[in-house]
């Protein structure tokens, strides 16, 4: 009987997905997250939700940056990340359940370096000792991809191109197999990659995340990629990403810059690990 039951359709009708989307859309704010559970339903959710399932939401660095989350789930699945969040609403759209969660530790994003990764707000240079060579921004073609796997991280079409490296927005395949939108900033052999973001609005902290493509991280090694952040001539903090650590968080307290605007410089030290990607945001103390 079970076998026969299996042959009956288990497909969630498109109308349920549309109804769930409409439920979410009416109440969705830019600071809200949309999640599809279990994770394997994510492609179906992205198809139905379109732009609501934006790259920022899908390739999120972390959940803390979102005030609320709409979790569209099937068969009672819930993402473990919401176990500490407050459930404020639950609605049904056919076979789907839309749960609204409130983030108890929400910290507002003030500025997101990913939004500043264009020539108006970012300059990139290659630093060889005392010499600093500009890396121009190009609208080019992406590089990578084939009919075989593994392929590694795709070099984006729009990027700052240095001799031996580049900086552009890409989506990392993290060690957790989840997507992470980040700045693909290639460490270079024997040279430092310097990125200067102009007029960044600061809060009390700088929060970032970094990772290396899954293909590399899946085999841990002692190798590291080191980053340092500077503003107003001071070192704000450093972060060292060891191969195998996965997508992980770093944070620097910036109380002296809270409420100010300043240029933020990020430097990636020389390393053999090419498929390095990071993101960083300035954040408030709360909502």
């Amino acid at each position: 009987m079970l076998h026969v039951k299996q042959t009956s359709s288990d497909i969630v009708p498109e109308s349920d997905w549309s109804a769930a989307r409409d439920l979410v859309k009416t109440d969705l704010r830019p600071t809200d997250l949309v999640v599809f559970s279990p994770f394997w339903t994510d492609p179906l959710g992205r198809q139905a939700f379109g732009d609501l399932a934006s790259l920022k939401r899908e390739g999120r660095s972390d959940e803390q940056r979102f005030a609320r989350a709409f979790e569209v789930s099937r068969r009672g699945a819930h993402d473990a990340v919401f176990s500490t969040w407050k459930k404020v609403d639950e609605k049904h759209a056919g076979a789907l359940t839309v749960t609204t969660w409130e983030n108890p530790s929400y910290k507002k994003v003030i500025d997101d370096l990913l939004d500043l990764a264009h020539p108006d707000r970012l300059t990139v240079t290659r630093v060889d000792g005392e010499s600093e060579t500009p890396c121009p921004f190009v609208h080019g073609a992406s590089a990578g991809g084939s009919t075989a796997v593994p392929q590694g991280l795709l070099t984006p079409a729009d990027k700052f191109v240095c001799q031996g490296g580049h900086v552009g927005v890409a989506v990392l395949h993290g060690l957790d197999h989840h997507p992470h939108l980040c700045l693909y900033a290639t460490p270079m052999a024997g040279a430092t990659l310097r990125m200067k973001f102009s007029n960044v609005a600061f809060g009390p902290s700088l929060v970032g995340h970094a990772g290396i493509q899954w293909l590399v991280e899946r085999t841990p090694s002692p190798e590291k990629v080191e980053m340092a952040f500077f503003a107003e001539g001071h070192r704000l903090g450093t972060a060292a990403h060891q191969v195998g650590a996965g997508w992980n968080r770093f944070e620097a307290a910036t109380p002296e810059l809270d409420g100010k605007h300043a240029d933020l410089v990020a430097e990636v030290s020389p390393s053999r690990q090419r498929q390095f990607c990071f993101e960083a945001t300035t954040r408030g103390a709360g909502p």
């Binding site: 076998h3 288990d10 379109g50 699945a77 795709l154």
Partner: protein, 599 residues
Amino acid sequence: MSEGAVSEVGEAAVSEAPAKVVDAPKAAWVIRNADYLIGGGIALAYVIWLLATARGLGFSRDEGFYFSASGEYERWFDLLFKDPKHAFVRSKIDSIWAANHEHPSLMKSLFALSHHFFWGKWKVFQDQSTAFRFPGMLSMGLALFVTYLFGTRAYSRRAGIVAALALGLMPNVFYHAHLACFDVPIMAMWITCIFTYWTAEKNGGLKWALLAGVVYGLTLETKHNAWMLPGVFLPHAVLLYGGFSAKAEGTKRLPVPASLIAMATIGPAVFLALWPWLWHDTMPRIQEYVNFHVHHEYYNIEFLGVTYFGPPSPKSYMPVMIAATVPTVTLVLFAVGAFDRLRAILARFACWAKENLKVALSWPKETPAADPWQTDILLFLSLAVPLAVFLLPRTPIFGGTKHWITAYPALAIFAGRGFDMVATRIEALLESKTALDRTKRDVVVAFVGAITFVAPFAVTRHSHPFGLSAYVPLFGGTAGGADLGLNRQFWGFTTESLDPWFLKNTKPGDAVYIMDTAWPSWQRMVDEKRVPPWLRGVGTPAEAEISIVHHEQHINEVDYNIWTEYGSAAPEYVLVHDGVPIISVYRRPASLARGRGRR
């Protein structure tokens, strides 16, 4: 019911036939050949089913490579037919047979000959791919035929029929049975080789021994799983010839079984004779072949949410995947049959120990039926040897269930035995508790058999063409497999299932990034109009208007790379099986011209 004794059952079935039918020569012939007719009928019906469903199944990566290699080999056969002298010139042999020389050539040669005759010469098949695939399908027919015969001769005709049905009604087996690959052929040759060896030992005489040697050679020439067969034969021969078997005679005039001698001599000769690549530089090339498989690269495969890509392999992989993919009713019947046979083996051993070692044992009370050819043990070895390899930490698991598919005929035979026991019990109950006559009791048992296999049939039929995504209801079906993080597919064969979407949503000249589809597979799909011929396959998302991604955990990187390229995470279409994503299809936003950056 016989306790593992062999041909008595089949012969008994013959003697039970009505006298007036036996008198008629034709009927007598039918009865005499009943087992061949039943086994052949099951095989024929199954091959017809495979042919009827082949058009709907896309081409896997490996099939694409074997199509290409077979095309090369076909050139050699052309030469052989037209200019045999030149066909044996080394330069011709080496240049042609170098293609895909990491695998033996028997099946690819058969693919080539099938293509040559059934498509090229006699126009039997419209699709070239069906001609290439046909020998693989026939080998599934052979597997069913031999499984039926083995089950019938080892236990009963009823066990044989159920064994063949159980083997054919497994979604993973049904999928692989369509392909121009080697997995189902090696399954067929594995059980055929064991059956031939068993028959050789049982019947004695040189003819069967020689045949065993030839069949082992063909098995070696099919796939390297044949290297494991000594692990089946040698322990069995030791038991058979080591004094444990009271009645066994067979080819015992020699100190070792003649069939084994034939396998050790004729087998390698057949292997070499049928593989032209080995005709020159033989030893280095054999070494290369062995090294390729001994040091085979580990591919990615997901199991319980973890993608494995190297040793150690999880020991639970094989048992969990069997439980998740073989219809549960088949496994229950297997458990019943295997327990019964294990119990019989232990009972015989206990009796032997009592007699030969003078050990005082209270069990068994009654002497079990003799098993002079150690059939039960042979079948357990046939089951255990291919499975045991997957308990070793260094054995790659990337092939999923197909790499231990050789164990399934024995599993199915034990399931047949299990059903036979259940049916016998039902018959006894019907006889003692009801007034039904023999015919009606037979109808009831036949009905029980039918409903037992309605479900495996339904689930197997329903799994097509997503056989690798199918998991049994005990595991929650396809969605349950996704919940558990079990592999959803490999080889990119599902691309063809996008055809209806392609037809409606693409225009001539559209470039499609074909992702995990191998180039020869894509080209064949285009040639056979399995996907719109106006599409242009390309190798990167950057070149494509449309990009597809086959959902496997390790392939997430391709999904995310497409997001990077198109600046969006929203697919335009998701191909599903039972609601579970199989392929996502992305379309390049109109604002993003190919090869240019975002504005």
